[in-house]
Amino acid sequence: MDFSGLTDTPEQAELRTAVRGFLASAPENPWKRLTGELGLTALAVPESLGGADATLAEVMVAVEETGRVLAPVPYLPTALAAAILAEAGVEDFVPGLADGTLTAALALGPGVTTFSGDADGGKLSGTVRNVLDGPEADVFLVRVAGALVAVRAADAAVTPVETLDQTRGQALVRFTGAPAVRVGDGDFADRAEGLLWTALAAESAAAAAQCLSRCVEYLKTRVQFGRPIGEFQALKHRCADLAAELESAWMTAHAAVRAALSDPEEFAIAAPLAKRYCADAFFRAAAEMIQLHGGIGFTWEHDAHRYLKRAKSTQLLHGTPAELRTLIARRAGLLPA
């Protein structure tokens, strides 16, 4: 299932085809080639800093395609960090992130960090858990009270942790008076978090669409009772419900992308809403993938479990469904702020 035809510009469709084709070729050293050859982390970086001068919408296309196949590359945080730093006008790290020699991780959730310093820099202390793609990162973007700061991994204590979802690593990161560069104020940190929600939504919508595609292919070829099981209405209807949910998830993620580019007020709602809606849809798609594949879907050998674990982890990190629901209710004025 692929809903990109509903949203892509011709240039985005071309980019998507290139990334998808490249990932399908099972490349060796994919990170080096995704960044160097295809220049994907440089998409939303200005030309003056070694970038391609495209927009976040193009970054999201690449996020979707790497997410669709759960590519084991730190694309999402690195490309986003490059875009966020460039948007803030902070040049530190940007050329390295843009050419892929550096990777980043985003520690934007609630942490226990303190920051003392000014516009020129300062010292960061505290601990952040569940930092996605943290073990390999060279740079951390960290949210502190009233600011967003950047810190070199070399100045932090990074402990990799074993994760339920083995497609994306996590680290426990400790900062003890680490030198930090100020990137932006609290509002800017909110925007960075919104962009992360948007990217997770887009990634989830794409990975969910892949789950449905895999189910449909299986139902067309798996024969029981003398017929492809896709003829059975009980299974068809589950796929149809999923298709409806996933098309709306795709559109919701893309509404957040559009808002990120042009409508800050709408973005404040659309970003958390998209993260919650798309991560939930992804989880249902992955759960259905296991059920519709029957026994084979329960094996380690089949990759349905990788999608299930990725989906659940995405749901629970950077705002659980319940937390985001409350946030949305407040931002929408349904509940007192």
Partner: protein, 383 residues
């Protein structure tokens, strides 16, 4: 483009301001889904007012009497209409179903005869598709018609016909080739309603009111020229009508949904139900669901390839609306179990009951799922 759209919006606004007032002021908010029986006479007048203002057939070609406006313009019209609380349309079956069918398949004579009545709001239409044995299985048509002495003679029964007792004409699918079956041998006939051979009987629904009717044809007649497309090719023509049973009016529909949601929210605040976290969670989910409907409609409307989008949209909004109906009465609690004398239902009760129809009419949820599975996903048809 942007400025022309803004101008158009203010044109629509000021026209509605001026006209949805005075004699028509009491129509505001009337006659929506589940309330089709309200003030029909006045709403028929309102259709003529809309027609004389040039607000019917906005997207139709100018050569056929329309205004040739883009879908962006139409979205603005429907949105402003909903925002102003414009009454439920009585002429929508002619404008949105028959009109586009005639534009696609009608002869020049048919267009000249029937389009002006729709555009002026002077001739009302109803749809004669469903039959007692042809609901989801629409091709199982039993109503038959034969050509004698320059006229089609029609015998049979249609059901779930909205507004039949107010309509001047009905578009009917009838079997015109004796012995044919399924999709073959059907014709698409235009039949005058005001004649001895037609009897209309209202169906009392679970709301206690009647939006729908049974229509009995007992040697009803229509002129031999009133067949759209070739005789025997009626299925193809009818499917075209179903394909247009959606479109830009979606945005107006969603503003109506928003108003309904706002009323439920206000009720929850007033009686304190919102203080229950389970209720506030459901309210937030309903609000979120409506946003998602909007994002989905916005995304699919302008897109080049909305394959299957119509079926997905129907499934999504029907489920959302039904759930809102349940939430509306749940918010009221015990109060929702009591009706006013004469089974006069509250808005919440009406919403709760009438939305049971949403997941059935215009292709039931199950039919939508079959279509999505087979056409969009390419799953094999059962044997």
């Amino acid at each position: 483009m942007e400025s022309s759209l803004n101008e158009f919006r203010s044109e629509v606004r000021s026209w509605l301001n001026e006209n949805l007032s005075g004699e028509f002021a009491h129509l505001i908010g009337m006659g929506g889904p589940g309330r089709e029986h309200e003030l029909v006479g006045e709403r028929l007048e309102w259709e003529r007012r809309l027609g004389s203002g040039g607000w019917i057939g906005l997207g139709w070609p100018e050569a056929d009497g329309g205004r040739g406006l883009s879908w962006e313009h139409q979205v603005i019209f429907y949105s402003e209409y909903a925002r102003a609380g414009g009454p439920g349309r009585v002429g929508h079956i002619g404008e949105q179903l028959l009109g586009p069918t005639l534009l696609a398949h009608g002869t020049p004579e048919q267009k000249a005869r029937f389009l002006p009545g729709i555009l002026n709001g002077t001739e009302m239409w109803c749809q004669g598709y469903s039959e007692p044995d042809a609901g989801s299985d629409l091709a199982n048509v039993r109503t038959r018609a034969g050509l004698r002495d320059g006229q089609w003679h029609i015998d049979g029964q249609k059901v779930w016909t909205s507004l039949a007792h107010h309509a001047d004409w009905c578009f009917v699918i009838a079997r015109t080739e004796p012995g044919s079956s399924r999709h073959k041998g059907l014709s698409y006939l235009l039949v005058p309603m005001k004649q001895d051979g037609i009897e209309v009987r209202p169906i009392v629904q679970l709301t206690g009111t009647s939006e729908f009717n049974e229509v009995f044809f007992d040697d009803a007649v229509t002129d031999s020229s009133h067949v759209v497309g070739e005789p025997g090719e009626g299925w193809k023509v009818a499917m075209g009508t179903l394909a247009v049973e959606r479109g830009v009016s979606t945005f107006g529909q969603q503003l109506g949904f928003q108003r309904e949601f706002d009323a439920v929210l206000a009720a929850a605040r007033e009686n304190g139900a919102i203080d229950d976290p389970a209720v506030s969670a459901r309210l937030t989910d309903a609000w979120t669901g409506l946003r998602v409907l909007r994002y989905t409609a916005e995304g699919t409307l302008g897109a080049a390839d909305p394959g299957g989008a119509a079926n997905i949209a129907k499934l999504l909004w029907a489920n959302w609306h039904r759930d809102l109906g349940e939430l509306a009465v749940d918010v009221l609690g015990p109060d929702a179990t009591v009706a006013d004398p004469g089974y006069d239902l509250s808005d919440e009760q009406r919403l709760f009951l009438f939305t049971r129809a949403d997941t059935i009419y215009g292709g039931s949820n199950e039919i939508q799922r079959n279509v999505i599975a087979e056409r969009l996903l390419g799953l094999p048809r059962g044997r």
